[in-house]
Structures are given as C-alpha cells and as structure tokens.
Symmetry: C2
Subunit: 338 residues, 2 copies
C-alpha cells in the first residue's frame, strides 16, 4: 500500500468564505423565508475532497434531481436559541446540532433561527436528505436575510453544509464544477438544460440502517489509503465528459453504462482502502447480479449506487413495466415530471 500524495487545498476557513460572499450582499431582512429543493442522484460521483474545510471536491460531478422529491424548509428569526423542527417534530440532537453549526456561519451576534424542515422523500427510499436539506435551507435563509444571491452563489453556500447539496439547487441535470481555486469561488453548480421526459430512476432499498462509516470519513479513508484512488480523478473527468455527451445526445445506453461504471469504480476505490470499506450488503450483490442478468437478456437497465447499500436503477419509460416485473418493490421516480 502506498500513500496518496496530498492535493493542494486552501487555507481559508468557511467563516471567511461566507464573509467574502456576504460583503457583496445587500442585506434587508424579511419576516420569513421558505423554499423547496429536490434530492439528487449523482451519475458521476463526488468522491474525495481537495479541501475539507470548504468542501472542495477532487473531481467535477453530475447529477439528476428527483423532481418533486426533496425538502421544503421555512426559516424565521427566533428569540433566545435556535429551534429546529424535522417533519413536524423537534429534530434529533445530532441533526439540530449540524444545522446550528451551519447557521453559525451566517448569524449576527445574538441572532437565532427557527427552522421547520420537511422531507417528502419516503423514508424507505434510502435517499440522503442532506443534499436537498442544505439546499432548501440556504434558499430559505437567502429570503429571510434578504441577500439576493444567485443560484451559483447559493450552490457554493449549500456546499459548506454538504458537498452533494451543491447540486440540489436545480431541477433536472446539474453539474458541479470542481474548480481549481484555493478560495473555492470557482466550485459551484450549474443546471444542464436538457429535459429527458422518458428517463426513469428506480429505487431499490436494501437497508435503511444508518451507515457505520459516513461519506466524509469514507472519502478521507479512501483518499489516504487506497492506491487505486490514484486512478479515480482521471476516470471521473472522463465519465463527466461522457455523461454530458450522452445527455445532450439522449444516448441512454451511454448514460447508463457510464453511470454504472462510475459508481462501481467509486465503490472499487473504497474496497481497496484500509481498513476495507464495503457499503455493499449481500442483498446489494444479489440485486446487481440480477440487473446484469437482465441486461444480458437485452433489457436496457443500469444502476448507480451512492456510499450505501441501495441501488438506484436507470431505465427508460418504455421498459418500466419490465423493470417493475423484475423488481416488484422498486420505487419509480420521474425526474422530469412537470
């Protein structure tokens, strides 16, 4: 095993990053802010930070937002302490602490917030809610504080809460430019305007248990100990370009193949880490073999997986019936439903 050489990272704190942006904002607070942001699934994964403080990624990533599935958040000012509600109840401590720490970046002395956040993602879906959660929060906060940031700026602020939140500012396809600057000002997300009505995402849940190793810890361990990770940035760059080409051309096999290969390569870099990092459960492997067998028989079906055991199928509307027959428990999402 060989150590990976460290990439250049910045030395800026996230507080300083926020201050730099706020300088440019014309502040005029409102009574409340309310916003919705969609969940997103990466087709080219974000895997590895070049700067942990500012959540700057090693590679650019590309995602598809899940339409109406996501998070709606209302923010108001509060009197003596933050009050955080999740799905109508007082939020669990760890959740509230993470949000309050994020709010620290924006609050003036003695300023507190009431945050009411609701996920309409079925809890059984095995989808991370931090992406849509931080994106909805920063949008709502922007209204409350009267900053008037544009989506790019909001995507950079969402990034400080959770890397994948950077991409949840948009509907449809979104790209997150890794950027090169140490101050992170070129690491933002943009929409890729390419509606694809017949595209379907199918969620196959293997487990809803909280994962033992979080994504940040997983990325760091992989970057620090997995020699195969050395080949990841080049693969991700290449996949990112191929996905953009596939989306513009609406070439579904190219999209599916590239997304599946990208996800498996990401998981491969983890398995070669030490201690080995394997988010797969036995049932994950069983489902993968089932997808591969169906594809060998001619079904245009691919999958992607995040840092967890669940599969997200990719297919076209015309194959929805066949997919549902093979996987009766699949939850079908229509990303471009209008």
């Amino acid at each position: 095993m060989i150590r990976i050489t460290t990439l250049n990272g910045g030395t800026m704190t996230r507080q300083k990053f926020v201050e730099n942006l706020l300088k440019r904002a014309d502040v005029k607070t409102a009574a409340r802010g309310e916003a919705f942001a969609p969940a997103n699934i990466a087709l080219c994964k974000y895997w590895g930070k070049r700067d942990a403080e500012l959540n700057l990624p090693v590679n650019s990533s590309l995602s598809i937002s899940l339409g109406k599935l996501g998070t709606r958040t209302v923010v108001k000012f509060a009197k003596s302490a933050d009050r955080i509600f999740l799905n109508g109840k007082h939020a669990p401590k760890a959740f509230a602490a993470r949000l309050s720490a994020y709010l620290d970046l924006f609050r003036a002395d003695g300023q507190f917030f009431e945050v009411r956040t609701k996920n309409n993602i079925p809890t059984a879906a095995g989808l991370a809610s931090s992406a849509s959660g931080f994106a909805a929060l920063i949008k709502a906060l922007d209204q409350l504080m009267g900053w008037g940031f544009n989506p790019r700026e909001l995507s950079m602020l969402a990034r400080l809460g959770s890397g994948s939140a950077t991409r949840s500012l948009y509907d449809g396809f979104a790209i997150w430019n890794a950027g090169q600057r140490a101050d992170g000002m070129d690491s933002y997300a943009e929409p890729l305007d390419a509606p694809w009505d017949s595209l379907r995402v199918g969620i196959l849940e293997v487990s809803k248990a909280r994962k033992k190793t979080g994504s940040t810890e997983g990325m760091n361990r992989t970057r620090e100990t997995s020699e195969l990770y050395e080949a990841w940035p080049a693969q991700a760059d290449c996949d990112y370009d191929e996905l953009r080409t596939a989306i513009v051309a609406q070439d579904f096999p190219m999209l599916g193949k590239t997304a599946e290969n990208n996800a498996l390569a990401m998981h491969a870099t983890m398995m070669a880490a030490w201690p080995p990092l394997c988010y797969w459960k036995p049932q994950s492997v069983s489902l993968m073999h089932k997808v591969w067998a169906a594809r060998e028989e001619g079904l245009e079906l691919y999958f992607t997986m995040d840092a967890g055991p669940n599969l997200k199928l990719l297919f076209l509307q015309e194959n929805q019936a066949a997919v549902k027959k093979l996987f009766p428990k699949v939850q079908v999402v229509i990303p471009f439903s209008s």
Copy 2:
C-alpha cells in the same frame, strides 16, 4: 472510461520458447515419470498478462503452497494417442484437450503420452487444481523425457500451462518474478525459504460452480477496460515487497493486512471493468463482513480471494479454535506441516 495503454509483450511463440530450453537439455528418456506438486494460494496476486502467448505477468506475485494438498501425476509413453486420466477415470474432454495441447509443445512427431493425474484437494475446497496440475505434469514429464531441468526451468515450462502453476514447483512460500524480457527467460519462480509453522489457511467455500468468466478472460477484460487497473501494477509491486518483509519478520498482521488488501484491490479492478466483473456472490460479502466484524473485536483474522467467490482465511494456530467456532465449516490447511 479510458483504454489502458498496451504494455510491451514478446513476439515469441510458446513452441519456440520450449525449443530454446530443450536445446540445452541432455535427453535420455525413462519408462515413466511421477511427481507431486502442491496447490498454492497467492498472497500477492498474479493479475494481468504482459504477454498472453508466454503467460508473462504484468506484476510479480507471491504465494504459499498448501503442503500435502495438490496433484500427483504419472506420465508414460503411449502408442497411438494421448490417454488422459483424472482421479482414476477418463478425463473430461475439455481437460484432456488442454493437457494434450500442452503436451504438443514437447512431443516429437508420432509421440504420445499416458497421463494419470490425481488431485487430493477436496473437491469441496474451491481451490484451482490447474496450478498443481501443470506443475506436477511438467515435473513428471521431465523425468520421463530425461531433461534434467532445474526447478527454475521447470517453473517456466509450467507457466506455459497455467500462470499460477509457475509457483507450484515449491513447498512453502514461492515468488514468481515477473521479469522484463520479451523472451520470458527471466520470468520464473523461486522458493522463499522461511518456514512458518504456526501459519494456517482456512478455506470457506461459497460455490463450487464453474465460474462463468475464466481468469484469463477476466484479466484481459480488466486490463483493457478498467481504468483503475492503471494503479494495479504499482500496488502489486509494493504489496510484493511488504509481504516479503512480513514473511522474513514473521509479522502476521502485516502479512494478513497486505494479502487482504491485495486481494480486494484485485477484485476492485475487476468491478471497475466493463462489463463489470464481480466474482462475489451474496454469501461472499456476508463472510467478508463477518471477518471484518471479528477483526474489529480483536481476532487476528484476514482473508484472501482468488478470481472466484470463495474466501481463504489467514490466521495463526493460536486462533484456530476461535476461527473454527466462528466458521464451523472452515477447512483448515497447515502449509508447513512436516
């Protein structure tokens, strides 16, 4: 996905390779040849050919032979056709054809052989027999033909039958030098004289079904389509050095960690291939998680896996009872039994 650049390979045929070696042999045939060769398990894997014709590997590998588990072969001359027996019965067609094709490299015009080969490896063990098979065959053939080759030369001839057979010429630890020459004359195996009496190998069988994708096809697909494979040769070189250090120092955690990481990295390169190559079955993943959980609780237990679904545990004699309790079906092998 990016294509891997092709490594330099030779242009020599295996027939020419054999002729070059035979020139130096003083031939005086005997009535029969008989030899035993042990099975071996690679701790640093052979994964990728730099020359498919001569079975020259991309990287050096290191193995441990399994003592008395292996293949015993008797060879005689036959009259009008090869006669191949496996475990006392006429060998299956594919098996006989592969052996006859190998014997073609050595036979004079009109010369035929009777080969009687027996494996004492329990068929349930999920161990490849081609390594011990070709090693035993070439040793027996050397006696019959009166070549008087030394083990290094025999290891190079065994290599032409099956890459991993190169390492089955020796008891204990063996190293197969990848070599650099296009004619393959520096790609041979040597023993590593370092007996380790307390070392144990435990075989956990997941499936005895013939694998759908053979090792050669798997290696080729990985080299041609898996971008992560680009990082493999450097990792293998490093693991090879670390294993040699661990063996000389009898540092078991270092041996186990390096072997497990090497095996997982090999499988990782396959998963990142296209189409994806996953030899793991759901039960393989279940057993891996069980090993990791036991290790977290302090048990010095590691595993390695070849291009198949079975696990080979690595542990020390002092932990044998604990391992048997965790895995009641494990088959324990003592590599250095005398």
